[in-house]
């Protein structure tokens, strides 16, 4: 495991409650409530040098499905998306490594699970490795989900309106309660700006921003500039200066989610 890796954890309960945990113990050490609409989600994020690997260990307290999603690869933490294939696997901590149960798969970042397996109670790990395609050290974010969310809420939409500073970024978190399509539409920008960066990703769980999965440079319009299929869970929208701002500008983004 590489020391550069940094991990964040969170426990998401079905009611949409979001609780952050720090590195280290990220999961309850005692069994959770009986099987039901409860989901536990963790985010494994860090920076992986070229040719290296890293892993994240967690405790599963009951038989349930594990879903693993490589959600983001970027050249800088929190930077624009640079979709880059990586090797992903599930295993058991053994020695100084994560011993994979099956051969790893090479995947490209997206917001639906690339791996899903039933797990018995025990300690497991998720391993990420450069599949030979990293052009440079890559920041990554992997979502690790145990169980299923409730899925009892309706699709919705909301407006993210704020002010973007020069060289700055702004982000907002929302929750998709079922699988489906998320669309982002930059509806307006204040005077002095014609385009800004617009991204969709998963939230940093310490509240410091968004780990971007897809991004584009967007000008205001009526059609979605970013769209992606997502699994149920917490997501975020990021608006960021791509270098064109000379003064702060207001913006408005319409978020439609399942």
């Amino acid at each position: 495991m590489k020391p550069v890796a940094r991990a964040l954890g969170v426990v998401l309960f079905s009611a949409g409650l979001l609780g952050a945990a720090s590195c280290g113990v990220d999961l309850p050490l005692t069994p959770g409530p009986p099987a039901g609409p409860t989901e536990i989600a963790l985010v494994f994020s860090g920076t992986l040098p070229v040719g290296e690997s890293s892993f994240f260990s967690f405790l599963n307290t009951r038989p349930q499905v594990l879903s693993v999603t490589l959600a983001s690869t970027t050249l800088t933490p929190g930077g624009p998306a640079v979709p880059t294939p990586a090797s992903l696997g599930i295993g058991i901590p053994s020695g100084t490594e994560c011993a994979l149960r099956e051969p790893p798969v090479t995947v490209t970042p997206r917001l639906t699970a690339q791996l899903a397996v039933p797990l018995d109670p025990g300690t497991y790990c998720v391993r990420i490795a450069d599949a030979g395609s990293f052009p440079a050290p890559m920041a990554f974010a992997v979502r690790i989900t145990l169980g299923h969310p409730s899925g009892d809420a309706a699709p919705g939409s909301e407006t993210f309106a704020s002010t973007l500073a020069v060289q700055g970024s702004a982000s907002r978190t929302f929750t998709a309660t079922q699988a489906g399509l998320v669309t982002l539409t930059l509806q307006s920008l204040g005077a002095g700006a014609s385009a800004v960066g617009l991204g969709l990703g998963i939230p940093r769980l310490d509240g410091t921003g968004c780990l971007i999965s897809q991004s584009t440079v967007a000008a205001p319009g009526g059609a979605p500039q970013v769209s992606a299929q997502v699994a149920p869970g917490a997501y975020c929208v990021a608006v960021f200066d791509t270098g064109g701002l000379t003064r702060p500008v207001t913006f408005s983004v319409q978020i439609a989610f399942p």
């Binding site: 495991m1 020391p3 590195c23 280290g24 113990v25 990220d26 053994s94 020695g95």
Partner: protein, 155 residues
């Protein structure tokens, strides 16, 4: 966490459990090894234990950990067998811990800061699960150190 602390003494009755593996380690040389030996238990019956050796290099200010499975309830103990800085035996102390792998580290409910020894420096009764041994430089090293830790666990 399926881990119960037993007496905090430095494993007087575990000396045999350490000396026997020590010999095995000497034979094994570098790398991670596992062996089985019959250890006289305090209850009078001989219980099989497995010995794993965690060897590596500890950079200044860094941590390293090693995960292992315990298949049945029993005492698991660890001891820092050797520590070398710049190729020579070191008298520095480092932090040893026994815990569970969580996130990108080993979460250790019990740690000790110790130098090289021959008797168990942490001994804990654990239930079947995956555990980890962790070593950390807490500021006492002057150079990267090569280390060897023996892990005695139920087999």
């Amino acid at each position: 966490m399926p881990m119960n602390l037993i007496r905090g003494r430095r494993g007087r009755r575990s000396v045999a459990a350490v000396l026997v593996p020590l010999g095995l380690v000497a034979l094994a040389g570098s790398g991670c090894t596992e062996a089985s030996v019959a250890i006289p238990s305090p209850l009078g019956n001989n219980r099989l234990v497995a010995v794993e050796t965690f060897v590596g290099t500890l950079p200044l200010g860094a941590t390293r950990f090693y995960s292992f499975a315990v298949p049945q309830t029993g005492v698991t103990s660890i001891v820092l067998l050797s520590l070398r800085e710049n190729g020579a035996a070191s008298s520095a102390t480092v932090q040893l811990g026994l815990g569970v792998p969580r996130g990108t580290d080993c979460t250790t409910p019990q740690t000790v800061t110790v130098g090289v020894g021959i008797a168990a420096q942490i001994a804990i009764t654990v239930e079947p699960a995956i555990y980890c041994a962790r070593i950390a430089d807490v500021g006492n090293l002057t150079a990267s150190a090569e280390f060897a830790i023996n892990i005695n666990r139920p087999r």
